[in-house]
Amino acid sequence: MSDPVVRELSMMEAIREAIVQEMRRDPRVILLGEDVGKFGGAFHVTHGLLEEFGPLRVWDTPISEAGFMGVGVGAALTGLRPIVELQYADFIFCAMDQVVNEAAKLRLMSGGQASVPMLIRAPQGATGRGAQHSQSVEAWFMHTPGIKVVLPSTPYDAKGLLVSALRDDNPVLFLEHKMLYGSASPGGGKATTDPTIGQLGRVVPADPYAIPLGKADIKRAGRDVTVVATAVMVHRALAVASQLAGEGIEVEVIDPRTLVPLDSETILASLRRTHRIVVVTEDTRRAGVGAELMATILEEGFDELDAPVIRVCAVDTPIPFAPAAQDHAIPNTADILAAIRRVLE
């Protein structure tokens, strides 16, 4: 047997590859979204799919988020496995009723008759485009019973998680951080980059593989303090961890990868080793992901804590336009560093 083929891929390419491979494998998978066909998607993720799979599999929709989300629900109820793409996660609020009241509730309301195997993909995160194109929406959906939430931080994870999400029989929200795509938006401009985003997880097997939902990944092992971080914050936490290693402080960085289901066991196991924990997320603080992680840790790991958990989150604000203001509102490496030092005091 020859070695499996691996290449370096950007997250955009990794997601695209997962979609293409699953669409080849399973004729029930279809795509719905604005400009996903001819144009190839606002961030190029669905480039070439219309050509390969044709208009019965790839549906260019009008600007009608609620409508095509509902179409996705109806298709999922009747034997297909739609992928619904939103151009920016902020626009999910236009389709919120179909996500929260229909997709997520139908299974229960029907007494188990219905299943809604629908994957919603949405690019999110702050990249300087102002308050209506910058939000991190995971907490709203973490609070929505009946839907799973995935938030990859690397191309490798993205491919494997997308495969699982697509094969899952429940609605899944798959949130892709624009800063991690590693590709320009064809809507204009160059790829948004962040100096802390390095080579992590860029090596991706060519064959399909599945990373189960609900399995956290220890991105760096360490004995002194646990940092739980998601998406871009994984990279910022790793940058800080490298820096602190120089001082002899070993930071363990855990990426939950999926928020629902949440692998609290991996987090608590780490806490039992380090007894100190910092949580870093890009969503806003109040009633956000950080709050839930803290509550879970408090409930299940109170006796293990040598110091209060610290959460590092975005300020409770719509994201301001000016880069200096945006950068203040979003956690940066200095914020993470300060939190780690505080929890170690």
Binding site: T78, L80, M109, G111, Q113, A114, S164
Partner: protein
């Protein structure tokens, strides 16, 4: 619809078999009786939840669904009992659902506003006004992709046409020529709001033009007329010509929800519509056409009455939902990864 007479149509049974016509009549009687029984149940004992009666609107549900095949799809509304009856959902299971029993169509998890039966293409009543519209379009799209030849019908009220989702869905369905049929049950009111107060274009069928969808307006209290319109729309849908918008002019004989007194309506209006009751009219038309005698129709009523008594007995004797039942229905364990 101030001038209902404009759509009042004589009963034309051309091309319909006696069995078929009596079957439609029976379905209407079942729907009526189901809700009338419920009405008294809600009056006479503590029943869980609430319910919205479609009394007086039965011809819409039955006329439309009678033009469908068993595996065609339907989405429904908060006022959904008649659609379910028409689609053949067993009365026992429906009644058991109203009693919140384990034997209910939705295992007691849904209740009146979420009745569904996926084995019969009944994709669900929706308590969110308009929410079923794109879901039917999605089912139609799915039928197209799978090449199954199925069509999908969405029932919704006059009030629902003012939701944005109506607009978004009809546009897509037309663009893509989906095998979908959009049925407006124009019962003149959305809770207290007359259609003229809530729709700038109260002739709702004309809204189809905004999407290049043919709009038909039919006598919604004439089951044969409704059936005929539906049959044409189904043929159009199956032949790939795209969706149809059918506005059925009808009337909600009872209050908006159980016991809602409808003080916003004039007694004379309610009386006028009583004389246009779809079951009465069908009974008369069947007799006039020599297709059934009064005795035969009374026999149907008696049989349906017995069915409903049996359904209530079934529901009453069924096991209650246990407190933790619901936990198994929140997410589906996926095993095939």
């Amino acid at each position: 619809m101030n001038d209902f007479t404009a759509v009042l149509a004589p009963f034309d049974f051309t091309g319909m078999e006696r069995e078929f016509l009596l079957g439609m009549h029976r379905r209407m009687v079942q729907a009526r009786e189901f809700e009338e029984q419920l009405y008294y149940l809600f009056l006479s004992r503590p029943m869980p939840g609430t319910m919205h009666q479609a009394t007086g609107q039965e011809a819409v549900a039955v006329g439309i669904v009678s033009a469908l095949a068993a595996d065609d799809y339907v989405t429904s509304t908060h006022r959904g009992h008649a659609h379910c009856v028409a689609k053949g959902v067993p009365l026992d299971a429906m009644m058991a659902e109203m009693f919140a029993r384990r034997t209910g169509s939705c295992r007691g998890m849904g209740g009146s506003m979420h009745l569904c039966d996926f084995s019969r293409g009944m994709l669900g009543a929706f308590g969110i006004v308009g929410a079923g519209i794109p879901i039917a379009a999605g089912a139609a799209l799915s039928a197209r992709v799978r090449g199954s030849g199925q069509v999908a019908v969405s029932f919704f009220g006059d009030g629902a046409t003012n939701e944005g989702i109506f607009h978004e869905t009809l546009n897509m369905a037309s663009l893509w020529k989906l095998p979908a049929i959009f049925v407006i049950e124009n019962n003149q009111y959305a809770l207290s709001m007359r259609v003229q107060e809530s729709s700038a274009m109260p002739n709702l069928a004309e809204r189809g033009a905004a999407y290049a969808i043919p709009g038909m307006q039919v006598d919604g209290n004439n089951v044969a007329a409704v059936y005929q319109a539906a049959a044409a729309a189904v043929a159009r849908a199956r032949s790939g010509e795209g969706p149809t918008l059918i506005e059925c002019i009808t009337y909600r004989a009872r209050g908006h929800a159980r016991f809602e007194a409808s003080g916003y309506r004039e007694a004379a209006e309610v009386e006028r519509w009583k004389r246009l009751d779809p079951i009465l009219r069908m009974a008369e038309a069947l007799q006039n056409a020599g297709l059934a005698t009064a005795a035969e129709l009374a026999q149907i009523e008696a049989e349906v009455h017995a069915e409903l008594e049996a359904a209530i007995a079934f529901a009453e004797s069924s096991p209650a939902v246990e407190p933790e039942d619901y936990l198994q229905y929140i997410t589906l364990e996926t095993t095939h990864v």
